[in-house]
């Protein structure tokens, strides 16, 4: 998550100090490593490629917040449809398939989505059996089969679910692995071969047990980090193999970072945290603390700035006032606890009290409609600074992508 705190630079820091030689003279900086920032960068990259006169593009990213936790289903805040270049670039970046679909969740329900990342199993509409992989810790194939079978009826699906006869997690040491570690283990060719062999045997056995065709195999979120093992197995076995949509401890952050690697390699990317910015007539200065380099600090100057640092959900920026309400001394003035600041403070639009807004008045499950998700910042200078994605109140990936498309269109209108 990037931290973006409103803090004016001290004058002595200068205008265009450049600690690592990154050339910012051509002037576009995108801050934020989530999907909104990545899409802005991707779209600008394409735009740049089509022009004779290039603009410099720098992508400053610390950590990716909410995007890295995305479990692979794609929703939209509204009925948003990606088309043309944006759709292609998004698919290329993420490997996503954009179609209305049903997927299975690890709590044993059907879930509707407008798209999915490649590891997620598209539940077929045809009648048939889905085998649910047994033997994975925390993934109770028997219970999930029952639960998904029940929920299938709710959505009018004729699918049946049954646990595999044997444990598909066969190695003892994997008993204590979960999440990203287990998924990473399945990146290994040797492990993949073992799984493929087990699946072949299991399918052979399953087909002797019933005339109802096997139409898919469902796994927990373990099918690789860098490898699209779901696609590999699907190709080898000739039937869909994929994952459920998992929960909090899944491998999603690792996958997201792997997904971003090609883009990071193609553009000028600075791994760091933006800790402040200042708008001057001549340029915009960004203070960046680099990660992994003993916190080296630098100042970058640019002409145009895109902030894709996530909202409250993404944790993308810090909040003015008491950093920790429980420990704050009695404040001298009324304020809103979650008041966000982005050069010009943007309040949460709730009345403050002597002690600040009570958090329970903001957050789920106290508040219906979930005000936490609707916090958004406004640009202090719409001709030079754009706010995109969750920071702009967009909650879903597809909405962030649409917002990125809008921002890039505006930004490139007068290059």
């Amino acid at each position: 998550m990037n931290s973006f705190v409103v803090r004016a630079f001290a004058d002595e820091q200068g205008d265009s100090a450049d600690s690592d030689g990154v050339d910012m003279t051509k002037r576009i900086a995108v801050v934020g490593g989530g999907i909104a920032g990545a899409m802005v960068v991707s779209l600008l990259e394409r735009w740049n490629a089509e022009r004779a006169e290039k603009s410099a593009l720098v992508w400053i990213r610390g950590r990716s917040g909410a995007s890295a936790l995305s479990s692979g289903v794609l929703d939209a805040d509204e009925d948003e449809i990606l088309t043309g270049t944006t759709r292609n670039i998004f698919a290329e970046l993420t490997g996503a398939t954009l179609d209305n679909c049903f997927v299975a969740t690890d709590i044993g329900t059907f879930r509707e989505a407008k798209g999915r990342l490649p590891q997620i199993l598209l539940l077929p509409r045809a009648r048939g059996r889905i085998l649910v992989a047994s033997g994975f810790i925390g993934f109770d194939a028997k219970h999930l089969s029952r639960s998904l079978y029940d929920d299938a009826k709710r959505v009018g699906s004729a699918l049946a679910f049954e646990p595999t006869r044997r444990n598909l997690r066969e190695r003892t040491e994997e008993r204590h692995m979960s999440g990203a570690s287990l998924a990473a283990a399945f990146d290994l060719a040797e492990r993949q071969a073992l799984l493929l062999q087990s699946l072949r045997e299991e399918l052979q056995y399953a087909r002797t047990q019933s005339d109802l065709p096997v139409v898919g195999v469902l796994f927990p979120p373990v099918l690789g980090i860098r490898t699209n093992l779901a696609a590999l197995l699907t190709g080898q076995l000739g039937l869909p193999v994929g994952e459920v949509v998992g929960g909090v401890s899944g491998p999603y952050a690792a996958r997201y970072e792997a997904m971003m690697e090609p883009l990071r390699a193609r553009v000028t990317a600075v791994e760091g945290w933006v800790t402040g910015c200042e708008l001057r007539d001549s340029a915009i200065s960004l203070a960046v603390v680099k990660t992994g380099e003993d916190d080296a600090q630098g100042i970058h100057a640019c002409d145009k700035l895109v902030l894709a640092t996530g909202g409250l959900v993404g944790g993308g920026f810090s909040y003015a006032g008491g950093q920790w309400i429980g420990a704050s001394p009695t404040p001298s003035h009324a304020r809103s606890t979650f008041r966000s600041s982005l050069i010009e403070p943007t309040g949460v639009d709730l009345p403050g009290s002597l002690f600040g807004e009570a958090p329970e008045s903001l957050a789920w499950p106290y508040v219906s409609g979930d005000r936490m998700r609707h916090l958004a910042a406004t640009s202090p200078d719409p001709s030079r600074v754009w706010v995109v994605g969750a920071l702009n109140g967009k909650a879903s990936w597809l909405s962030c992508v649409k917002d990125a498309e809008r921002v890039v269109a505006e930004l490139t209108r007068n290059p």
Partner: protein
């Protein structure tokens, strides 16, 4: 001819006679309330040979018992006014240590004395006070107090700040109040009692001949209604006491309580190995204590008039406590709060006193005067004196039913309290992590081995369901099979599942799957259980969260949404 048990108008209800229904099982005593007093009485009476049924409207330890400061203290505050109470408290603390040695842990306290007017005099007085307390300390295996210089205080706890005259140390014993209730209930069950949680008493009526009571109770999960005939009824429902009495048509001023809400704030780790006393802004004594694997600040004390089934903390209460502790131990400002808990003390009624000045004593109300002989209410009391209170109540019941067996609850170990296994040896023997073994043996004593033995047939039950605590699948199953758990919330109360940094986001649904399978309810009902638990935990956590926690909360919620969880 029956007369109203309480004739003072305008009593809206009166105890009614009822014709004896057929096929109603008969027991000696119905205990209403699954807190520490109710389960303590159920155990005591069962040990004395009576047939007992216990009904609990919510879960065992749902109220004050499971939301206390978690201490079996020696009653130091009563020393000046009533030293016999202190002596009895210390003595009973010793008994509880003997019957549940696995469940108690020593909490050494530091009480720094700030410099100020008369501080030196105050320091001497406190020292003298604790010298008197030392007389009783051996009864509870307590160490004598020590008088420390300011430097010695800081050497013990470098995080202390402030200008001190010096400090005093003393020690008390910590306990998991929920486990204490559960163990009492389990022991009662194993000796023949029948325990019903999530079962609310809807009516208490007298049979036509006046000799017995018919207690009608409804299971709040299944809706099933049952009736039990009993010679005696014990109302041990804490702050719900007057409501329960009213269900029986009993309206008497003797049942008046002054319920006091107390909240505690829990941090994700032990911030100090010492409990540290401080004063809140209004001069009240508050403390931060190392408690199990976390630190806990306690407590507030405010009159409470709200819904007893839904007591929630507020951010104001959290700030009040944190501010008071930060004055001497500012590290709490940087620490991470993971949850709060909130209970309502069933304090005895007094008008005109501040909450802190109210008596923590207990009383047994005999409703004979209200026309309900054999019906008793336990009011007031505290966790530390539960066993003694239960003994006194059981003596009264035994006398009423004409029997004279003596109390043995002070010598008979609670389940698992016979031998405390070594956590390290247990870890080695069963191939589980030392942390999991340590937590399991803490909660279950020797019965931890019984739980782990089930791994022989079900090795996958070594699955860590809750990584924060940690809690294994075999323990979840044990909670359901042996400890009356019926929901995720119940499992959490018994195991502390879902109370760590992730707030149950990682384990609630997995736990719900196991509970649903074990209790034979549908997966959908299981998911509903998980959501109820998560909502409850979020409500307990949000008033205490700071900005980083707010971010994480939002991220976790977002991921639950991603997984398709809807409310």
């Amino acid at each position: 001819m029956f007369e109203s048990v309480y004739s003072e108008p305008p009593g809206p209800l009166s105890m009614r006679f009822e014709a004896p229904p057929a096929d109603v099982p008969t027991v000696d005593v119905v205990v209403i309330g699954g807190g520490v007093n109710g389960t303590g009485v159920a155990r005591d009476l069962t040990l004395r040979g009576l047939r007992v049924v216990l009904f609990e409207r919510n879960d065992l330890a749902f109220g004050a018992s499971g939301n206390s400061s978690g201490m079996i203290h020696g009653g130091v505050r009563y020393l000046s006014k009533n030293p016999s109470v202190t002596r009895d408290s210390c003595k009973d603390s010793g008994f509880i240590q003997a019957i549940a040695p696995h469940l108690l842990f020593r909490i050494p306290f530091i009480m720094p004395v700030r410099k100020g007017p008369f501080a030196s005099v105050m320091y001497e007085l406190i020292d003298a006070y604790f010298q008197a307390y030392d007389i009783f300390q051996p009864l509870k295996r307590g160490k004598p107090h020590a008088r420390l210089s300011a430097d010695e205080c800081r050497r013990l706890e470098p995080g202390l700040v402030g200008d001190f005259v010096g400090g005093i140390t003393f020690d008390e014993w910590g306990v998991d109040g929920s486990r204490l209730c559960v163990l009492n209930a389990v022991d009662a069950k194993e000796r023949g009692a029948s325990i019903h949680v999530h079962t609310t008493v809807e009516a208490i009526t007298r049979e036509g001949d006046g000799g017995h009571y018919i207690v009608r109770a409804r299971d709040r999960i299944t809706g099933q209604v049952q009736r039990v005939r009993a010679k005696s009824v014990v109302n041990s429902t804490g702050a719900w006491g007057p409501i329960t009495a009213a269900i029986g048509g009993i309206h008497t001023p003797k049942m008046r309580l002054r319920p006091g809400k107390g909240i505690h704030v829990a941090f994700d780790r032990r911030l100090s190995n010492y409990a540290i006393m401080s004063q809140a802004i209004d001069g009240r004594d508050i403390f931060i204590e190392p408690w199990q694997n976390m630190s806990v600040i306690g407590t507030t004390d405010d009159d409470y008039y709200g819904d007893l089934d839904n007591v929630l903390p507020t951010s104001e209460e959290v700030r009040y406590l944190v501010q008071g502790i930060a004055r001497v131990f500012p590290a709490v400002r940087e620490a991470r709060i993971v949850t709060t808990w909130t209970g309502v003390r069933p304090t005895l009624y007094t008008y005109g006193k501040n909450e802190d000045a109210l008596s923590r004593e207990h009383e047994i109300v005999d409703h004979r005067e209200s026309g309900a002989p054999g019906v008793f209410s336990m009011i007031g009391g505290k966790l530390a004196s539960y066993r003694l209170f239960a003994q006194e109540q059981s003596d009264v019941v035994m006398s009423y039913v004409g029997q004279n067996e003596k109390c043995v609850t002070h010598v008979k170990p609670l389940p698992g309290g016979d031998v405390v296994p070594s956590a390290m040896e247990t870890a080695d023997a069963y191939g589980i992590t030392p942390t999991a073994a340590q937590r399991l043996t803490y909660r279950h004593g020797s019965r931890a081995l019984r739980i782990l033995d089930t791994l022989g047939d079900q090795p996958d039950d070594a699955e860590i369901v809750c990584p924060c605590e940690p809690v294994m699948a075999c323990e979840v199953k044990h909670a359901v099979r042996e400890e009356f758990a019926r929901t995720v919330d119940d499992v959490s109360r018994r195991t502390r599942l879902g109370l760590g940094t992730c707030g149950g986001m990682r384990c609630a649904f997995r736990c719900a799957q196991i509970v649903a399978d074990e209790t034979d309810v549908s997966p959908e009902q299981g998911r509903a259980m998980a959501m109820t638990f998560l909502e409850r935990q979020t409500k307990m956590r949000i008033p205490a969260m700071g900005t980083p926690q707010a971010r994480q909360e939002a991220l976790l919620i977002e991921q639950l949404r991603g997984a398709g969880v809807r409310r």
